[in-house]
């Protein structure tokens, strides 16, 4: 095959993928999703250990009165919590979509970059050696751990002559994840902090405060925007390295930037709610089913669906067994699993 032929062939493939895209559906989902999110914000604010009616919510937003306890609850506890849930959901989903597109592996998610395992290990260390550390520092340490895990994976993955192939990335990720998980299991067993860690994770987004959101929200939004800029290249990359190269894509650059975006998004999300990796795995699958295989649509739609999923899960986690909370990670899996099973049964080969 001559070179021009390959290029023609590759262009055909890209066209075929773009044909699967359903921009109308994507737009509809984004708009409906945002409306749904707004509604569930209100529902979420009003439901909880203390029920709050709609008028009070309205007042809290437009006539805030410091002396009213309910206004305090809304502003200081519930509202930041919901925003936190939405941000975390969007971040995990976009990170998962990028990972799956970049590695061309439907099983890939941000956990594979060693992020979750790194964060958990730092958590184990901070629980064992620095008990009683304030929440903000614990989050920071977790994020540092996530970044460390990713750096090791990425570094080892790109050490060989061939550079970073998807398979190498995935394998290095799996190995580093196993290593870090083993270390944290060892530490947790030795210092007997395993159950404390489980409780920490079970807290989910409940301890999100404005101070964190002010830092996290803009970063997540910027990263999602960068992901959307990269989407075209990711679509081409998801067709395979050869296709991408023959179309003149700078694949290494795309992969590096995507990896950085994934680390920041998933690292922040993990450090806030713990390893709720299922969101990053399931949401991109679902999205592809709905809007096709063009990442220009997959990424924004994933963000919206992910946000919806986590907000609803958080609402259920608070209300199903009130005043106790169900761990949000567990709840997301329990909602997600039947759905995912249905998807797996319905569709054939994909990605």
């Amino acid at each position: 095959m001559t070179k021009t032929n390959t290029v023609v062939e590759s262009k055909k493939q890209v066209k075929a993928v773009k044909k699967t895209a359903k921009p109308l559906r994507a737009t509809a989902i984004i708009i409906l999703g945002i409306i749904f999110l707004c509604c569930s914000f209100v529902a979420s604010i009003s439901l909880g250990a203390a029920d709050i009616n709609f008028d009070t919510i309205w007042d809290a937003f437009f006539n805030f009165d410091e002396t009213v306890t309910q206004h305090q609850i809304i502003w200081e506890l519930r509202f930041p919590r919901i925003i936190g849930a939405a941000i975390v959901g969007a971040a995990f989903s976009v990170a998962g979509a990028l990972m799956q597109g970049m590695t061309r592996n439907p099983l890939a998610d941000s956990g594979l970059l060693g992020l979750n395992a790194g964060a958990v290990m730092m958590l184990a260390i901070s629980f064992s050696f620095l008990p009683g550390l304030p929440f903000v520092y614990t989050v920071l340490l977790s994020f540092f751990g996530a970044a460390l895990g990713a750096t090791i994976v990425y570094g080892i993955g790109s050490m060989s002559k061939n550079g970073l192939t998807p398979i190498r990335l995935v394998l290095a990720g799996a190995a580093v994840t196993a290593l870090l998980t083993a270390l944290s299991e060892g530490i947790a067993l030795y210092f007997d902090v395993g159950q404390d860690m489980a409780f920490w994770y079970a807290g989910g987004v409940s301890s999100t405060r404005w101070e964190h959101l002010i830092v996290i929200t803009p970063i997540v939004i910027i990263m999602i925007l960068i992901a959307m800029r990269l989407a075209g290249s990711i679509t081409i990359l998801s067709l395979g390295e050869e296709v991408a190269v023959s179309l003149g894509e700078r694949t290494n650059r795309t992969k590096l930037i995507s990896a950085i975006v994934v680390v920041i998004l998933a690292g922040l999300a993990v450090s806030v709610v713990g390893a709720v990796s299922f969101v990053g795995l399931i949401v991109p699958h679902l999205t592809r089913k709905i809007v096709g295989y063009d990442y220009r649509f997959i990424i924004p739609v994933s963000a919206v669906i992910g946000a919806m999923l986590v907000v609803v899960a958080d609402l259920l986690a608070r209300t199903l067994n009130a005043p106790f909370e169900i761990p949000i990670g567990a709840l997301i899996s329990l909602i997600g699993v039947p759905f995912f099973l249905y998807l797996a049964r319905k569709g054939g080969q994909e990605l």
């Binding site: 099983l107 080892i156 050490m159 394998l171 799996a174 580093v176 196993a178 083993a182 994770y201």
Partner: protein, 343 residues
């Protein structure tokens, strides 16, 4: 797949034989070291004497009733998990496939957890029941996964199997998180140790329970190594070569799951072996399953036995769970292979 480099088959065979010999020697050395290792040290001469029937009663009890069965079990588990992983990766054609990712470990873990919470007040007694409980959990999970990934006119597609497996694993882990928050700290630490992967059954009974599975299934899989090679070439090629793809897959998957379930039931969740042993092997001897399967089995055996020995040695008298040690020694070596060798 990879770019084809024609290597003569004798060269490949030689390489495989050399690798096998090195691994066997390694296994024997670790076996001997492992016999000597423990809270009570026994020097090699006494070991030999005891085997010849001239040892003291105490040595005999320690060696023949405690250490030897444990070593044999470690070797068997390593083989079982490694072969299971090899088959899964071959059939599913996904390098991430292993008994852990499709939920077999999680199922066994959940069964153990439920058992500890609801039935066992006296943890000491449960040591003997635990493998049975775990096997039931693993087996049930396998059935659930199979039922969900089976479709009437298509049979079981590998990608569906693995996606279903991941989903089931996630669901089970979620249940375990919920349970974790409810159980008392003592039971929790028991379950956590189990999940980290510790070799439980240390008596000949467990060897006898485990052995038939391996003796039947590993040769069966080996016998199918050509089938696995053909599967590697892609579905279309396999069908055009006259293979009944669906039937072969079903048998191989069943064998892989049974191997994993049997191993996990005595070993706890030592997940990593099934993932890396096949990869290590392929990087050492290539893709031909005729060589990959036996060598993966040997690598698995060496890995688990080394890990178990080190786990008993490092923090005496406490033990580090074998699964933890497997990952700590296995991962760096695997990463080294990954960085050094080409795809």
């Amino acid at each position: 797949m990879t770019n084809f480099k024609p290597i003569s088959s004798t060269k490949k065979k030689n390489k495989a034989v050399v690798t096998a010999i090195i691994l066997l020697v390694l296994l024997i050395i670790i076996f001997l070291l492992s016999l000597n290792t423990g809270l009570i040290k026994i020097d090699p001469l006494t070991v030999i004497n005891t085997f010849l029937g001239n040892g003291s009663e105490q040595d005999e009890l320690l060696l023949l009733e405690f250490r030897l069965p444990r070593i044999v079990i470690a070797v068997l588990i390593g083989m079982g998990l490694a072969v299971s992983g090899t088959v899964l990766q071959g059939v599913v054609k996904n390098p991430l496939a292993d008994p852990g990712i499709i939920g077999i470990n999680a199922g066994a873990g959940l069964a153990v957890m439920i058992f500890v919470i609801y039935f066992s007040t006296e943890l000491g007694n449960s040591v003997f029941i635990m493998p049975i409980v775990a096997f039931i959990g693993a087996g049930l999970t396998a059935v659930v996964i199979y039922v969900f990934s089976y479709k009437k006119d298509e049979g079981v597609s590998p990608i569906r199997l693995i996606l279903v497996g991941v989903a089931v694993a996630a669901g089970i882990s979620a249940l375990m998180i919920v349970l974790t928050l409810r159980i008392d700290p003592e039971s929790y630490s028991f379950v956590a140790t189990w999940l980290a992967g510790s070799i439980w059954g240390t008596s000949w009974n467990f060897v006898l329970a485990l052995l038939p599975w391996l003796v039947i299934l590993i040769p069966f899989v080996y016998f199918k190594s050509r089938v696995l090679d053909v599967m590697n070439l892609g579905d279309a090629t396999a069908v055009s070569l006259g293979m009944n793809l669906e039937r072969e897959r079903r048998w191989l998957l069943a064998a892989a799951v049974a191997l994993a379930a049997a191993s996990v039931s005595v070993s706890g969740a030592i997940g990593f072996v099934g993932l890396i042993a096949p990869h290590m092997t392929r990087r050492l001897v290539g893709e031909t399953h005729k060589y990959v399967i036996p060598i993966a089995a040997l690598i698995g055996a060496v890995l688990v036995l080394t890990a178990d020995t080190l786990g008993r040695l490092i923090l005496q008298p406490a033990e580090i769970p074998t699964g933890v040690v497997v990952a700590i020694i296995g991962a760096p070596y695997f990463l080294y292979l990954l960085a050094k060798l080409n795809d």
